[in-house]
Amino acid sequence: MQQSAKECGKPLVRIRGLRFRRGERWIFDGLDIDIPRDRITAIMGPSGTGKTTLLKLIGGQLVPDEGTVEVDGQNVHALSTAELYRLRMRMGMLFQSGALLTDLSVFDNVAFPLREHTRLTESMIRKLVLLKLEAVGLRGARDLMPSQLSGGMARRVALARAIALDPMMIMYDEPFTGQDPISMGVLVQLIRQLNDAAHLTSILVSHDVAETLQIADQVYVISDGRVVESGSPEELGEGGSDWTRQFINGLPDGPVPFHYPAPALSDDLLEGARC
């Protein structure tokens, strides 16, 4: 009998030799990443390293120049459009902006994937939507429009929508950016609880170090198109490279210098005096 990928204990997402460029610049240059099942894997790195691009590559919204991205044993970029859409129904994604449909209410936004992909009755959809909204603490906000929500509430509604179809994995794109401490704490707790309660696989892209390390089971740090460090949050804190320690601890100076490359200050000042 053929064993399923899950039974074999294979990672849910397997990225090998990924190369992707925008214009002349290589965003990824031979990236290898394994995302284990039922865990929270954080992808971290400085701004502009292509963390969001990586999520789009996993979701099949972008096509790599080389390499493969396998999700649940399926090569994402070798699938037909219909197969890709079937796979996406098992994925959820939380966009940085929430990406709620602005002409629909909170209730209708969460009901949207259920109405699109299932033949459930409206009464069943109502019950499911209320349960999903209850899970993110916004059952009472079901009649509000997206324009009436705060940034944190919008992300929680987007999270309820992302789990509407009970996906196998969720990708979070910078979920903590621009959140006040309370909203951030709520989101941190929700991501962990949802992952554990629903046995989800979570990919968390962020550069909010403290919050991410608080809930991540495994961390990949990427820079210059490659994985520069990986391991558990504890391993990263203890034995990482100088660069990783600077990134994790938010040190202003180190391998990434505080000063933009320039001639010596005294030379610059003296040159000004000579003019």
Binding site: G59, S97, L101, P113
Partner: protein
């Protein structure tokens, strides 16, 4: 000099690439018809926002254009004692030319620009990406209903424009300037040919509706997803649609009446 040629070449290539992308978009738009047939509500909602909300500006514009035609036509025709042909002149001008052309221009300014801005903002706020990740094709779900709503709306709006234009011409000619009312309506009835005038006018408005809505949804979908990008796309929609309508009007007129 060499730089000038290089820039021209790059511009030409970019324009051709965009034109290619615009043509490729037609396939998913047509395929989106299946989604619309399955859920007609998508089309009905868009017919309201694209068509019904444009009726007022079309009606008012049609009425005024008809009134001006009545006034100007009377001034010219009365010199030759041909006031009785006023009805025919007003109706022919509206049904053959002004109805389809001005409706399309007004549609591009009112509904086309709104379509581009709406789709562009949906792109800028990642709503279209969100749909893709929810396994919903935005070309079928968002673009196609808007495209077919425009295609259906423009001929109907052109008919409203022409009807109200004739009414405006009659109000000025028959009501204010004293043209014989029986002659006004008889001249119109005898002079207007259903096939040569009405059908050709409808064909024009269908073509203009197709082009204006196609340009609007493409510009929104293809825009740079920033506030400046959306703004530029909206401007391009109005400019490209207006020029396309005027250019196509000449071609169609030459084919139909030339």
């Amino acid at each position: 000099m060499l730089n000038l040629f290089a820039s021209l070449g790059a511009w030409g290539m970019a324009s051709l690439t965009r034109l290619g992308r615009a043509h490729l978009l037609l396939f998913p738009l047509v395929r989106g018809l299946l989604d619309i047939l399955r859920r007609p509500r998508l089309l009905v909602d868009q017919l309201f926002s694209v068509g019904v909300l444009t009726i007022l500006i079309i009606a008012v514009a049609g009425l005024f254009v008809g009134m001006v035609l009545g006034l100007q036509g009377y001034n010219v025709l009365s010199r030759f004692g041909g006031e009785t042909a006023l009805g025919f002149m007003v109706a022919a001008s509206l049904v053959r030319e002004l109805g389809p052309v001005l409706t399309a221009l007004l549609f591009a300014g009112r509904a086309g620009s709104a379509l581009t801005a709406e789709i562009g903002l949906m792109k800028a706020t990642e709503q279209l990406s969100g749909l893709e990740m929810m396994a919903v094709n935005p070309e079928h779900r968002v673009l196609a209903p808007r495209f077919f709503a425009g295609l259906i709306s423009v001929p109907l709006l052109a008919a409203i424009f022409s009807c109200l234009g004739v009414l405006g011409g009659w109000m000025v000619g028959g009501g204010l300037l004293g043209v014989d009312q029986a002659a006004f309506w008889n001249g119109m009835q005898e002079g207007i040919d259903f096939h040569d005038d009405v059908i050709n006018g409808v064909i024009k408005s269908v073509v203009f509706g197709f082009v204006c809505t196609w340009i609007a949804v493409f510009q929104g979908y293809d825009c740079v997803p920033t506030s400046e990008g959306v703004s530029r796309a909206t401007t391009r929609t109005v400019v490209h649609s207006s020029l396309a309508v005027l250019g196509l009007d000449f071609v169609l007129t030459a084919l139909m009446f030339g």
